[in-house]
Structures are given as C-alpha cells and as structure tokens.
Subunit: 355 residues, 2 copies
C-alpha cells in the first residue's frame, strides 16, 4: 500500500512539473500579447470565451465550476505579471461586493474597498481603479438604486456581469419557538425573497422593512422576542442564533453585479446589452418603444423602471437584452428604438456571466 | 499584427487544453490516493513539500509566490472533489483570520466565520470543522492571548502556521496637520509596531492604548482632532481619512496564525515544533530548562511567557523550536527538557510556512 502511495505521489509530482511549465509558458504568451499593444491587456470577451470553452472541454473529475474558477485565477495571475488589475467595490471587506470582485477578476486582482457607490464610480472615472463592481439587482446591501441612478450620467461602460448566490437565515437573540415571534425585521428585498417561507412558518408575525439586513439584525439583537432575516455575517456580528437556515423561496437566489470600466468589449458569442430608455408619459408609449425588440427577435432579460432624475422624463427604464450591440438584429432594433424613445443610452455590451 | 495576435491566442488555447487535462489527471491521482485510505486526505507536510519544490523549480515569468498560490488553489480543488475541508476562523468575514484561512486552505476550502477564539477551538474539537485558524502573534484583533491560553488544555494539535503581512495607517476624521494632533488611539501592539514612526512624526502626541484597532478608529471618529493607528478596513468603516500609509517600523510586519486540528503531520524537511513549558519559580530555572536546546543545536524561534492559569505554576512559556519532534536532535532535547521542566506539552510539529 505504501509502495502504491509512493507511486501515485511520484506521478503527481511529475504532473506538477508539467503544470508548472505550462503555466509559465502561458504567462510568456500572455506577455507577448501584451507587447503587441493591441488595446488593453484585460479582454473580458476573450476571458469569457476561454472559460466557456474550458467548461465544454472539461471531462472531470474536477467540476466545470471548479476548472473555470482555477482558470480565472490562472488568467488573473498571468495578467498581473505586467500590472495587476485594480478593482473598486462597495466595502468594507467581507461584503458580497468583494466576493463578486474577486470572483470576476481573480485573486491576483487588487480589490479596493470603497465607502460608497458614488465613490466606486469616481475612482474608476478618475483612473484610480481600472474597474468598478456595483450591485444592480436583488441586493440586500441597500445600494442597488444608487448604482442605477448613476448610470445615465457616467462616461463609463458596462463591461461585465457577475452573479453571486445569496442565502437568508432567520435569527434572534437566543433560541426561541417560531410561533412565539411577534415581529421580523429585514430589508424589503429580503422580506420579499422569503415571502412564502414566512407565510408558512411565521404566519402571525408582523414584517417590518428596515434600511439593510445588518440594521435588521441590530434591531433583533436589541429587542427581545423579535427576529431578523439576514445573512450569516450579520448573525455573527450581532451575536444572534440562527433559528432556520436558507429560508429564501427561490433556491437560486442571486445578487447581480455589473462591472464598470473605460472599455467596450467586442462580441464574445454570448453577450448582453444594457440600456437606459425613457418614453413620453402617454398610454402605450412604453409598449411601442419595446416593439422593435420583439419584431427583431431580441430577447429582453430585464425591464425595470425608476423615477427619473433627468429633466423632462418622469421615468427611466433599465433594460437588458440578449446579444451584442454589434449583432445585426440588435443594431437594427436599437436604431429603431432610438427613433421612438425620448432618451436612449447604451450602457454597454458585455459577455454574459460564465461563472 | 492581428495575425500575430491570432497565432498567440491559438497557442494559449492549446496550452489551456493541456493544463485542463493535467489538472483533471492530477485530480484523478489525488482521488486514487484517497481510496487507499492511508489516514486523512489532507496532508500538510506533503503540501508544504510540493509548494517548496514548485518554488525551487519555477523558472518564471510567474513569480515564486504566484505559482505557489496557484498550486495551493489546485491542491485545494483536487481535495474538494471528495469533500471540501471546513475551516473555522475568528470572524466576521473580512478579518485577517479569514485571509489566513483561505491562504492556507485555498478557496475550495469552506471557511466558517466564528464569533470567538473559544468557539473556534470548540468547533474543531467537536468535529464541526476539520481545522481551526487562530492568531498567535502580533495580531491587532485582540485575540492572541486567548489563543495561547487555550493551548495547554486542548486535545487538538498544531498542524500548520500561516503568516499574513499587516499594514498600519494613521487616520483621522477629516484631513489635518500631523503637528496639530494631541492624541493617538490604537491597540497596544500597533502602537508598539509604529513606535519609531510616531516618535519621529508625532513626538508631542499622547498615545492611548485601547482594546482593538477598530475601537481606536471609532474613538478617532468621535473625538475631533484625535487620530488612530489602524488598518484600511477601519478607516473605511468609520469614514476616516488616511493621513499617512504603511507607518509600521518593520516593513515585514506580519501576524502569525496557527492551524489546529486532530492531526499530527509527519516531517516535511523544514518544520517547527511548538511547546508549552513551565519552570519552578526560582532563579535560573528557565535558563536551565532551555539548556538542552542549545547543547543539541536546536534553534528557538520564539519564547513567550504568560501568567499561568494552570494550578501550581506561576508562568507558562510558549516556545517554538526549529525541527520536528521526530528529528533525532529535537527528540533528544525534548526528552531532557521534559525531565527539567515542571510541565511540558508538545503542541505539535508542523511544516514551516511556505507562502
């Protein structure tokens, strides 16, 4: 048995050498591409293509997810030889935004925790950071709205998206019976995400929306008998007991982040395009404005309205469609929408999230 | 130029396939070793040997540090096929303890933020976590003493060490002249680590030791004119301006963590051994107790005394020596020390930190 162990270890050692040589050879090639000076070294569309191919070619036993994550780290390390990519995200350390930044740029990227969404935009616009990562959907860190409101006026482009799974737990100060809890605090997004579970398990409890899940946990820590819906970190920080785990109705509950930078990715083969639109305030205007997408066979993956802070328009519509702005059908649809909409801004075309 | 770019990318794609195949083959071998059932799958001494060899064999352009980090991730991913390693660390997320846990076990390990050092020990002892990571030297998270005090009574073994570089900054609410600052708050460890810099730059300021660097930042945020010495995360969390960065006297300022588990690593070729000793309270007793190390040529890398909570002894001495307890000279020295010391406990022999 020990001889067999030695034999297997010997084989692993030989493989390690081969992997090491391949990694360094890869780094040399990446550097050679860098010296060609064809635009910037980090090409999100190319990374997305590489990761998709890796997942297709993977035969296991490593999972598709695992090999993609390892290659993200390898690409991140190769890029960092010249200069590591700097990424501003909504801090402090430990937030989902940090997780998103590292998932997208790998751990050879340099993350900069930043105190506000506005400051993330500012750092990227001033060149202090190469890219910024901001939450745009389903976040319970209370920053989604601000991320969107800053989009119409920024010169930055959306050049990527990141999806992070989110779990919610019911927690309180000390263990208690669910039936005995009169009030539950949480961010409105989280309450909505756990709606069914709360109906079934805490039908009599009052639900109180507060500014953030951290604030909810703080309230639950101060007011005996109450509970909060929040993440693991909040339970730990406020010394609460988790009464029930993973109570979100949708098991694939994710927060979506966008990557902002001074860069427009080329088509990767599977892209999305984000835009902001505004319509005149009359019946049927919105429907009319979206018709070109339907007639050109362009799928819409998101449609969200927000009160406008831009003069003239009452509402802005944040729309995501499938495809790249350079794709023929997308280009044609955008041209037509542009004629109908009062205001249109293409925020960017970028590879759909691979990981 | 575009043809050259295509050619280089084609080469990278081919290399990617080769790396992918090697990674999966490596995972298969690791799994084969797992089925031999020769003790547990995670072998820190073997990992240390592999990482040292990788650093020796590395020809660049990737740095030794980078290839070692990539291989840590590869080993972590291969191990996780069977079952990911779970690691309890002093939370919340975002602490240096989390950084240490991920640096040592790779991101395929599952980190569990844990509210106290006592709880880290408890989780590992109960089998809820495979390993625990606790700060033991130079930490400003205020937990070093407790980590040590729990060592004499735990059945766990020390099976690894992790070193994390630490940087300190001077910060205050709003920008201000250094000369105008009357008081500086910080943890006593941090004040000591920035002693020279404070002497040179804030000679007139009173230095006030508080419970943690986070607490120092909070005080500086509340009391105008004052400043704090703390890390980047604290500046961000309390909205302070960094007046001066990296003010630690010793540029290689690190916090040291130990890895605890129900496992005794075999010799890796470059090991350390941690022990707790106690001597009778009489002049010369400590010197006498340590003599066997000197005569046997065993280097001591750490010697720290703490008030004892164990009956009979006034002080406990935490000692680290170079070498493994199975090394002939170490074994002989330990046997002799054991006869002289009032109390001796070998906490563990483990590979010296590679990363």
């Amino acid at each position: 048995m020990s001889a067999e162990l030695d034999r297997l270890r010997e084989q692993i050692d030989q493989l390690n050498v081969r992997i090491l040589e391949s990694l360094n050879e890869r780094a040399k090639l990446a550097r050679a591409i860098g010296t060609l000076k064809v635009g910037q070294a980090y090409r999100p569309e190319r990374e997305a293509q590489v990761l998709r191919r890796i997942k297709e070619q993977n035969q296991g036993p490593l999972s598709d997810e695992t090999v993609a994550l390892l290659f993200r780290e390898i690409m991140s390390a190769c890029l960092a030889i010249e200069r590591p990519i700097t990424v501003a995200y909504l801090g402090p350390k430990g937030t989902f935004s940090e997780t998103a930044a590292m998932k997208h740029f790998g751990h050879a990227g340099v993350g900069t925790p930043t105190p506000s969404i506005d400051e993330v935009y500012r750092k990227v616009q001033s060149g202090e950071a190469d890219f910024g990562v901001v939450p745009v959907e389903n976040s319970t860190e209370g920053a989604v709205g601000r991320s969107l409101d800053l989009m119409p006026n920024t010169p930055l482009k959306v050049c990527g998206e990141v999806l992070i799974p989110i779990h919610h737990h019911l927690m309180s100060k000390g263990k208690r019976e669910l039936a005995s809890i009169p009030r539950v605090f949480s961010h409105s997004q989280s309450l909505a995400q756990c709606h069914e579970w709360l109906n079934a398990n805490l039908p009599g409890a009052e639900r109180i929306a507060v500014a953030s899940n951290a604030e909810a946990a703080r309230r639950a820590a101060e007011e005996p008998d109450t509970a909060a819906v929040a993440g693991e970190a909040a339970a730990l920080h406020y010394g609460l007991d988790v009464l029930s785990s993973n109570i979100e109705d949708e098991p694939n509950n994710t927060t979506r982040f966008l990557v902002l930078g001074d860069y427009e990715p080329m088509p990767s083969g599977k892209d999305k395009t984000s835009l902001v639109l505004s319509a005149n305030n009359r019946a049927g205007a919105v429907y009319e404005m979206l018709t070109p997408f339907a007639t050109r066979g362009v799928s819409m993956t998101k449609f969200e309205s927000r009160p406008s802070r831009v003069a003239l328009w009452d509402y802005l519509f944040f729309v995501d469609i499938e495809g790249h702005r350079d794709d023929a059908n997308v280009a044609a649809a955008l041209a037509e929408v542009g004629k109908i909409a009062g205001y249109i801004k293409v925020l960017g075309s970028y590879p759909a999230a691979v990981l």
